[in-house]
Amino acid sequence: MAEPAVLEVKGLTLEFATRHGTLRALDDISFSIRRGEVLGVVGESGAGKSLTGSAIIGLVERPGRITGGEIRLKGERIDNLPPDRMRAIRGRRIGMIFQDPLTSLNPVFRIGDQLIETIQTHTGMGQAEARQRAIALLTEVGIPAPENRIDAYPHEFSGGMRQRVVIALALSVEPDLVIADEPTTALDVSVQAQIITLLKRLCRTRGTSVMLITHDMGVIAETADRVAVMYAGRIVEIGPVKDVIKHPQHPYASGLMGAIPALDTRLNRLTQISGSMPRLDAIPAGCAFAPRCTKAIDRCRSERPDLMPAGASEAACWLVGKVSAEASA
């Protein structure tokens, strides 16, 4: 490939220095996103999905600190930039969408002011030109009568409409990459699909890459090109969305997929993975999933597996060959 990946993360490690010692919240995370590609990131709460997003955009809050690895945006290393240069990248080249549209917008400023502010921060546009652009953006994200609504305050919009405004803000200066951190979790079910469709359409027409963090497998199946499954601060499986959903290689991934209820079978009880994710200060020496894994062997408890090729995907499991053999049999 001649063109470097839009985002390349290599060996990213993030630690929290606490009174009780150092906690490793992200451990050796590596993945890349190509131009126009949508990478879904799934995993249960606390697996490190949002933290990965924060690390990429350079907004990890203290006492969290990146202690290893590198992050490259179109080949340029960005994890060690001085704050001022990183700020110029935020919004301009990497956009971000947060979970709750009700709290993402500043309540005391008109949405137009917030759009114009963002546009003017990153481009040399004048007030009038920026306003025209803001109106165009609002039209694009499907806000009716944008010429009037641009002067409205956030509280005058519904949750779904506010998330559209947030998307307009994140895409306002055409970033290369958008990190969407659970963009639909806080919304009505009826609105979720609209927002995802909108995000997908806007990014496809612009060739924008997307890192879509969610725990909604339905959204992933419908939107993502590839998917990364995270568990206890590590990526346990990453691959094309079809393969990961149909033939998950890692026992945790297959547990996740198995937990999606099928429409055509009657269930008395939803399938679940027993146990819970280990706390950061009590991650076992071997594979972090071993204590909950029904297929664990001795090696899993003593030695930590790295990602290794497994069919079309990569999985971090010592049983890779066996599991896939079972699945295809």
Partner: protein, 328 residues
Amino acid sequence: MFAYSIRSLAQGALVLVAVAFISFSMFRFVGDPVANMLGQEATLQDRQELSERLGLNDPWPVQFARFIGNAVQGEFGVSYRQGRKVSDLIKERLPATVELAVLSALVATVVGVLLGVYAAINRTGFLSNAIMSISLIGVSLPTFLIGIGLIYIFAVELRWLPSFGRGETVKIGWWSTGLLTESGRKSLIMPVLTLAFFQLTLIMRLVRSEMLEVMRAEFIRFARARGIAERTIELKHALRNTLVPVVTIAGLQLGSVIAFAIVTETVFQWPGLGALFVNAVQFADVPVMAAYLMFVAAVFVIVNLIVDLLYFLLDPRLRSGQRVAKGH
């Protein structure tokens, strides 16, 4: 918003009527005005004539109505002690108190907000910690002690500033101002600082804690993610959200600065309304006390009205009439 203003006005009027009733009852319970005015050698007939003339024989609702009618026109009768119209006395003393109070409120608000913002932005800096420590003194030391301390340092030891009075004043119409002469300005410095100090530290601590809370809000994080400069985030996005609760407290404080300048005025022998009131209390000069009470109530009501209107400027959520819980 219109309905809201009307409601605020009505509430304010209600408060004033209630205070007027208390002022009015003072006439009946604090001393006997007739005895006060005539002295001990008056005959019974003199007393009855005066009672009749003052309307003291009318039933009390009639008297109360007359009191309110006069109060609305700014008339509170004649001072028992000085024998002059109370409205004239107040007019004479008002400029001194207003100048002192408004300057103090201005100093307290401007410096308080600036220091509060600074202490919030540089939370761990040496200067911030110093400011916070000193502010503890302001919150805990009584006003008169600060005043006496200032007098000792700047008037007694250093002899830079006068220790009492307004200095020379200039008349502009009926208003007398100390701002136009050097001795007037010098005389203002210590009383203003004394009166401002408590409010200043209060506002500063409030701004700091509110701002720290706002800085943790999600929309601040989103502003950072949009690449907005940190200074802009602090001084525009965070400060504007901080100001709503600050205006409430600062407004109420402004009311109390005007109303309770008494202590400062006493310490510096400032010829204002506070001093007038203290003298009136000593001699049971009821008309003056009643007028002062009404004045204080009116100041509080007016300041509250202004604060209510400021909300609309600062928080757009109120403009549409819907009250939104403060979300963080």
